[in-house]
């Protein structure tokens, strides 16, 4: 009772603690620079409006003899006539305004001289390209005055959002995006559920083949199905255009079909996992109670897999609503949010509005992400160590039914890819159907030629190597170090963030942050570095979770033992942590590689002529009407990813074989 606690102990940090903290700081700093700061830059852009504040400047004009008249404020000058000479003073960050219009009798040859100054702090004007500010007069002849432009002042507020929501064309995209995402989600999840169910709960044949075919869409850019759909159903030349009954594939129909294609494997994996962890004993119990197959389905299967189904739904929703490539290719005049961002930024150079659309897109993306995270956690809780794996029994009718169903789905998926391959190989659809490789001669097309392919390959390799190192080290620091709790929690939060950030949003955030001349990191803009950084960041979360899961499976006391034996942490890291985690490390690197090959959304804002990418080239060639070469380039990505996957599975098998002795025991 009344015991008094002595003074608090302050830990003495050992060599390892310092090393680990510096590591975590470096990787934390990476996430701050590559994620937090760009997003902040975008956020502040969305709330910034730019306008010319004429009252900040004053001018004095001389007569021909060099005698200066009174000091005049520019705003006063502007308001002398009604309506004012410059009526609309709103502009964007790049706005520039010449002033000669204010002087009706201005001529660059007149002997009149001008004195000009900025009276308020922060007001900037340019003479030619030279930056000026401040209340000191500068004197200019009329030829030079012609080259004076003032820069906009900025203001914080919601007016960008007001503009956005009062522009019907833009608001329409919100509805379009939501409708497309919801319809696709319903279709994909239903198709994927029965496909996964057939794999997990039936004895149908060729499961391995079906599983492989179902995964194929992951290996191609999301816009590739768009190209195949154009070949199949385009109103004038489509191979099967009659099947469209006069509807145009360009628009919502095309986006939905293509979206189902590219989201299918994601939904299938999640639902498969959910089905495979259901406890077989529940089925036995249900059977022993003489419940019908139908009743068992609704009382055991669906409740067991429900979190997986919900999770798959939100993942699909998120993928569709944030996807840019597919609606760009096959959207026609049907506008969606992700394409609006592109149009605002690249088409109209209206960066502020691009930021506003990004914020609007962020809302459903963040919501879907948040709900999905909660679902995933609950799903994990359902899995107990004592669950028994379900082994389906043969049932010819059911098995053949599922075989037919899976074949249909597989034909759809493989068909899309086959059409692309066919398109890439024929000389000129529909006039000359002879086969040739001329569409692979990318040097004759826009889009960067073969260099864009090698760039993509380089990007994928760099992303895989650098990304895996950064991600694994980061996960290790979060999972296996002690102390520094707040730093670790912050790091974990930052690592989860990228999954919620659509690629387009990340891309535009990078423009704002890295293209700012005041940013010391400005030099990476337009280089391969920024492409690698953005891609690693974009795909950080899934990689991080893979690494964390692998690390969690390792005994938490390895570190304690190693410390007690006075061995530095990096010895344990190299000799135990890395070798034991090698399968997970390989999984992370193939994930990063494949995504770096296929991604369009962030990099479409960030590539330069020297760093054109294959996936972007597909987009650009398609835009330019070179659809066959676009398909050919898409197929190049497919071959590369398929090759990488094969290499990955060979490596994984080799590693497992070598480590068989210690992984499984005698």
């Amino acid at each position: 009772m009344g015991a008094q606690m002595g003074p608090k102990i302050k830990p003495k940090l050992g060599r390892d603690d310092w090393a680990q903290r510096s590591f975590m700081l470096v990787i934390g700093l990476y996430l701050v620079i590559a994620l937090a700061l760009p997003l902040y830059a975008m956020l502040s852009k969305a709330f910034s409006t730019y306008y010319f504040d004429l009252s900040q400047y004053e001018v004095q004009v001389s007569d021909g003899a060099g005698v200066f008249g009174p000091v005049q404020n520019i705003a006063t000058l502007n308001n002398q006539s009604s309506p004012p000479i410059f009526d609309d003073l709103a502009t964007n960050t790049n706005g520039r305004l010449g002033l000669t219009k204010l002087f009706p009798d201005f001529s660059f040859r007149s002997p009149v001289n001008y004195r000009f100054r900025a009276v308020s702090e922060g007001a900037i004007y340019l003479v030619g390209s030279e930056r000026n500010a401040g209340p000191d007069w500068i004197e200019l002849d009329s030829n030079t005055f012609r080259r004076v432009v003032i820069r906009p002042a900025s203001e914080r507020g919601l007016s960008n959002f007001t503009t956005y929501f009062s522009t019907p064309a833009l608001v329409q995209s919100v509805e379009n995006s939501l409708v497309i995402a919801v319809i696709t989600t319903v279709i994909t999840v239903s198709l994927a559920f029965w496909f996964a169910y057939a794999l997990a709960r039936s004895k149908m044949r060729f499961k391995g083949v079906f599983r492989m075919v179902a995964m194929m869409p992951i290996l191609v850019p999301s816009l590739l199905p768009g190209i195949a759909l154009l070949y199949l159903f385009s109103p004038r030349q489509g191979m099967l255009k009659e099947l469209m009954f006069g509807y145009d594939i360009n628009g919502p129909i095309g986006i939905v079909i293509g979206s189902v294609f590219f989201t299918f494997p994601h939904a299938m994996i999640i639902i498969s996992t959910a089905l495979s962890i259901s406890d077989a004993r529940l089925f036995e119990a249900s059977e022993s109670l003489k419940a019908s197959r139908w009743k068992t389905f609704w009382t055991v299967t669906i409740p067991g897999a429900r979190y997986g189904i919900f999770s798959a739904a939100f993942v699909v929703f998120n993928l569709v609503i944030t996807d840019f490539g597919l609606p760009k290719v096959i959207g026609g005049n049907f506008n969606v949010l992700a394409v609006d961002i592109f149009k605002q930024v690249i088409g109209q150079q209206n960066f502020e509005m691009g930021a506003v659309v990004s914020m609007v897109l962020l809302v459903p993306a963040l919501m879907a992400f948040g709900i999905d995270r909660r679902m995933q956690k609950k799903q994990v809780a359902l899995l107990t160590a004592r669950s028994v794996v379900y082994e389906p029994k043969p049932n010819p009718v059911v098995d053949w039914f599922f075989f037919a169903y899976a074949t249909l789905v597989a034909v759809f998926i493989a068909g899309i890819i086959a059409v692309c391959q066919y398109a890439a190989l024929i000389r000129q659809w529909p006039y000359n159907l002879s086969l040739s490789l001329k569409n692979y001669d990318f040097s004759r097309m826009d889009g960067g030629g073969w260099a864009s392919y090698t760039n993509s390959l380089l990007l994928a390799i760099f992303t895989a190597i650098i990304g895996t190192i950064v991600v694994f080290l980061g996960a290790y620091m979060v999972e296996k170090t002690k102390g520094f709790e707040r730093g670790r929690a912050l790091f974990q939060g930052l690592a989860m963030l990228p999954m919620a950030i659509p690629g387009m949003v990340l891309g535009i955030a990078y423009i704002f942050f890295f293209n700012n001349p005041d940013n010391p990191l400005n030099f990476i803009y337009g280089t391969m570095i920024i492409l690698v950084v953005s891609t690693v960041t974009h795909f950080y979360t899934v990689s991080h979770l893979t690494a964390v899961t692998a690390l969690k499976q390792m005994d938490g006391e390895f570190e304690s033992v190693s410390q007690s034996l006075k061995q530095p942490f990096y010895k344990l890291f190299w000799r135990v942590t890395v070798p034991v985690s090698l399968p997970a490390i390989l999984n992370i690197s193939i994930y990063l590689f494949v995504n770096a090959m296929t991604t369009v959304s962030a990099v479409v804002f960030l590539y330069s002529t020297d760093t054109a990418l294959a996936s972007v080239a597909v987009l650009n060639m398609n835009d330019a009407g070179d659809i066959a070469p676009a398909a050919a380039m898409g197929m190049m990505i497919f071959y590369t990813n398929a090759g990488a996957r094969i290499l990955h599975s060979l490596l994984s098998k080799g590693i497992l074989a070598r480590s068989n002795a210690w992984r499984k025991g005698a």
Partner: protein
């Protein structure tokens, strides 16, 4: 040398550990003697593992001082302390062979390879697994793995050996066998050892001294016999071994339970108390006398080497006595359920405690 080797090897003073608002350790002070085998015993959540981890420096205490071999180690990281540790999970590195696991702490630039090899062979011999060096941990049984973990922990000849529930993951038979092995090894090496366990049998059979802990405080420190024979409070009495606990009223020279007057040392308590006696201390007797009761066997349970019985008596009222009788005794008296007999509750075996809060 001026300093003699201290008798006290590890000194803990005023140790506190808070997790947010929860106090896991409350003002722990304790001395561990050189070469002794000490057990922290208590229910889960009592703070015993927290205390062990504080001694190791794996989870630093909030406040308080720890002195090891005369040196203040209170705030040092684990690597700057001197101990070997064995965990319940063994924590053997799965991808390294047994030899490599044991050699893990021995390898450094200064030590020649041959010396490491010789030491590993010596340690394998010591734990009785001389031929297993080339195998991987997953190829050994749990008991073997734990012996390897032990060999790894003592490889660098640390001054202190910490054992965190080392035997809890093993089957009953292996556990009993390893208790003996570990104790033998500790005696042979003379290494000061602190073990955490929730298994009282393990503590009683292995420890030189036991520290009984509850709710982050120390309830009692003593030899196994002291803890068993003379528990200082009801918690210790209840936690270590089986104990009858009967509400009673203190009176001069003893206590009274309904109509039964028992003479015993009532520690000067008065009013409502709890009278306790161990089941094996209740003796069958032939004739009436002091502290002798006439009881009926309500039920009996055969537990291998003895019978555990529940005894009732109208004089005791509701209270039931649990008593253990050897098979021989049962045969001699020839009793079965429903049978009657006389039992004595020896005065010196009855312990009286104040009622628990």
């Amino acid at each position: 040398m001026l300093d003699k080797t201290p008798d006290v090897y590890l000194r803990i003073e005023g140790l506190w550990k808070n997790f947010g608002v929860f106090t896991a350790l409350r003002e722990i002070s304790l001395e561990v003697l050189e070469g002794e085998f000490l057990c922290f015993l208590g229910p889960s959540g009592c703070g015993k593992t927290t205390l062990l981890r504080a001694i190791a420096g794996l989870d630093l205490q909030t406040a308080g001082r720890i002195e090891q071999a005369g040196k203040d180690v209170s705030n040092l990281p684990p690597a700057e302390r001197d101990f070997g540790i064995v965990f319940q999970s063994y924590a053997l590195f799965p991808n390294l062979t047994i030899e490599k696991n044991i050699a893990y702490g021995l390898e450094n630039a200064k030590r020649p390879r041959a010396e490491v090899k010789a030491r590993v062979a010596e340690l394998l011999e010591l734990v009785g697994l001389p031929d297993q060096g080339k195998k991987y941990p997953a190829q050994l049984s749990g008991g073997q793995q734990q012996r390897i973990a032990l060999a790894r922990a003592i490889a660098t000849s640390p001054g202190l050996l910490l054992l965190d529930e080392p035997l809890s993951a093993l089957d009953a038979k292996v556990r009993v066998f390893l208790r003996h092995e570990v104790k033998e090894l500790q005696r042979k090496l003379g290494i000061t050892t602190v073990m955490v366990t929730h298994d009282q049998e393990e503590a009683l059979s292995m420890a030189d001294r036991i520290v009984v802990m509850n709710h982050g405080t120390i309830e009692q420190v003593g030899t196994p016999l002291e803890i068993y024979r003379d528990p200082v409070n009801l918690f210790v009495a209840d936690f270590v071994g089986e104990m009858n606990q009967i509400p009673a009223t203190a009176e001069a020279g003893g206590v009274v339970i309904k109509n039964v007057h028992l003479s015993c040392n009532n520690n000067g308590l008065s009013g409502s108390v709890i009278a306790t006696i161990r089941p094996e201390d209740i003796l069958p007797v032939e004739e009436n006398g002091k502290n002798v009761l006439r009881v009926t066997i309500f039920e009996m349970e055969f537990l291998g080497s003895f019978f555990r019985t529940r005894l009732t008596s109208p004089e005791l009222g509701e209270a039931m006595l649990m008593a253990d009788f050897s098979i021989n005794a049962m045969r001699r008296i020839g009793l079965k359920e429903g049978g009657k007999l006389l039992v004595q509750l020896p005065a010196e075996r009855i312990k009286i405690f104040a009622e628990a809060g």
